[in-house]
Symmetry: C2
Subunit: 379 residues, 2 copies
């Protein structure tokens, strides 16, 4: 465990997620320096203002109480890990959040966050959903999963849970981004669902293990859901629904915003209709094919379509190319084998493999990494 990793773990326990001031401090001093500055109160003067003094004092108190080593230990015991910016598995789509990006993410489960989110759709909506909305969410999620799309949601009651369950029913990957620690089963009735997601894919949180949900954190969490995916489908939403905050983030991040219509006299479709009326960028969707068509359209901007790499092999930089060429033509190889064959160190191999996966050249498999079908074809 590097100091930097430990520092980032500490920072997730220090400030509320996505604090732009803390991200500025990290940008300036690095994570280790940021932790130190908070501890000593030595925040760079030009970043401080009267307005934020209280917040920084609050950080100091929380930082003193934080025990990042123990948090990391707990998470590891749960089969989890801390994912930091710069890690090969870090989804670069999160960088679109700018000053509000996460300091780090706590993960629980066997999935690779970056790869799993390359082709992902957020599906969100009311907690107090109607049977109509629940049926659609489960059906859309199952269809998306069957076609190789990851369904991302917030693990809440109602539409969120129906979407996760639909994806699981189709044996597909689904990710729950929680507003509490990955070991806190909230809501309690989704306990079994969380266990299943942690067993199959990933639970994700910006907060360390043990952190309880908080009303404000739900809204802040929504930006991560929007940023991870190519687009967001609002299945059902009341006039004032948290799902509309995910929609707003989706719009702000330039992702595809979709909403499902419903009966005009249904309370839980009012928010969807409002979105479709007020936001010219919002697309009305009624079938999973329409969802896939909408997110597929901008595919090349965010991630390659699975049919072939966007970047030709010969435009890869030398190290990435060496790693790619170290992969066997058939079958798979582990990172250590690849490192030896490519003549680079293991950390570099891991980094390049992540980039090559994002480029559609390689994919994870049980034996390690292998060439994608399209990467095998000469270009």
């Amino acid at each position: 465990m590097t100091d930097e990793r430990l520092a980032r773990a500490a920072l997730t326990a220090t400030a509320e997620p996505g604090d732009a001031l803390l991200n500025r401090v990290i940008d300036r001093l690095g994570p280790v320096g940021a932790v130190e500055a908070i501890r000593t109160g030595d925040i760079p003067g030009d970043l401080l203002s009267e307005r934020v003094v209280r917040r920084v004092e609050h950080w100091r108190i929380r930082s003193a109480a934080a025990d990042p080593g123990r948090d990391l230990e707990i998470c590891e015991r749960l089969g989890g890990r801390l994912l930091c910016p710069g890690d090969p598995e870090w989804p670069t789509t999160l960088d679109d959040l700018g000053g509000e990006r996460p300091y780090a993410l706590w993960l629980r489960g066997p999935g690779d966050l970056r790869n799993t989110c390359l082709r992902s759709v957020a599906m969100v909506g009311s907690r107090a959903a109607s049977s109509y909305g629940l049926r659609l969410a489960a059906g859309f999620a199952a269809d998306l999963a069957e076609r190789g799309w990851t369904v991302v949601s917030g693990g809440a009651l109602g539409i969120d849970a129906a979407a996760h369950r639909g994806a699981l029913a189709a044996d597909g990957p689904t990710i729950a981004v929680l507003a509490n620690g990955v070991d806190v089963p909230y809501p309690a009735s989704n306990d079994g669902l969380f266990a299943e997601i942690a067993r199959r894919t990933l639970l994700v949180s910006e907060s360390p293990p043990g952190v309880e949900p908080h009303r404000l954190r739900f809204l802040v969490r929504n930006r991560v859901i929007a940023a991870l995916c190519r687009g967001t489908v609002v299945v059902e939403a009341e006039a004032r629904s948290g799902a509309l905050s995910t929609a707003a983030w989706t719009r702000r991040l330039g992702r595809v915003l979709m909403a499902v219509p419903g009966p005009v006299d249904s309370r839980t479709s009012v928010g969807c209709h409002k979105l479709l009326r007020d936001d010219p960028s919002a697309t009305l969707v009624t079938r999973s094919e329409e969802i896939i068509e909408a997110v597929g359209r901008i595919g090349d901007d965010l991630a390659p379509v699975p049919s072939g790499p966007v970047l030709p092999r010969d435009r890869l930089e030398p190290t990435a190319r060496a790693v790619l060429e170290a992969l066997p033509a058939r079958g798979a190889a582990g990172p250590a084998q690849i490192a030896v064959k490519a003549g680079v160190d293991l950390a570099t191999v891991n980094g390049k493999l992540g980039l090559l996966a994002a480029g559609g050249f390689v994919e994870r498999c049980s034996g390690g990494w292998r060439l994608t079908k399209s990467a095998k074809q000469p270009k």
Copy 2:
């Protein structure tokens, strides 16, 4: 009855509605000349082509069989009349149809077509509507009627009938534009509805009395519905519904196109969702307030809002102003009284009253014509 009127009556019996070739012949020769040219086969050579010879021969046969005098008599006996382009009551919005404008319209009922359509909304949809659609159509129509809007539809089963009935229930004006003669009760089960509309407002047709409905005429008729109104609401429509042809005309004519969403698994909402997905100009509406907001927005382009005349009195041309000033400050006057007081002939008075009504200065009432509320206020 002038020759010109008789000729137009004959033309409605001669060709299918909205024939651009016939409209060109009328433009060139006038209605009387057009009838004569059809009878003698003497169509101007530059308008004729091999492609249309058959059609013109068909006109000749139908023209020979037509009895416009008798048609006019039958219509009059039913409390009806023939409305011709140039009449004060002729809605100039129909001119937007260009080459496909009606040759004349057969009306049945006491309403003034032009005035009644100044603030009108077309409400159309599936014959095989769901209870959801029927309930909404009736509710929207009643709301619109209560707020002084005329509901125009096609008199068909399903959404059309529900819209007419909703307007009637709110004691509001409603107009049925039929694809058959105004004396032909089609569909038969709407017999009572047609009688009530004829008693209260207007039945409208491009075809003379006695003409039976024909599949093609339904689609051609839809352009009149679209042209008469400021906007069209598609309440429910299957994937291939006649209502979508009204929607296409609405779009082509630059009117406001609206569609009501519904459950995505409802067969009769598929067409509405398709419109909302495919046509960026289509507005999703869920409440009557949203319909009024949408058509009200472009109000000034098509017709004045009822709160006050758009044109100040002193910008009226002298004859119109004389007619306006001949109206009593309180109560009403008949055209003959007004003619005497203004010192102009009856035909001129009728013409100017139509224009003044379109300008929001005067309105029809049981005693003839009266000043509108806003016209009474000094400007």
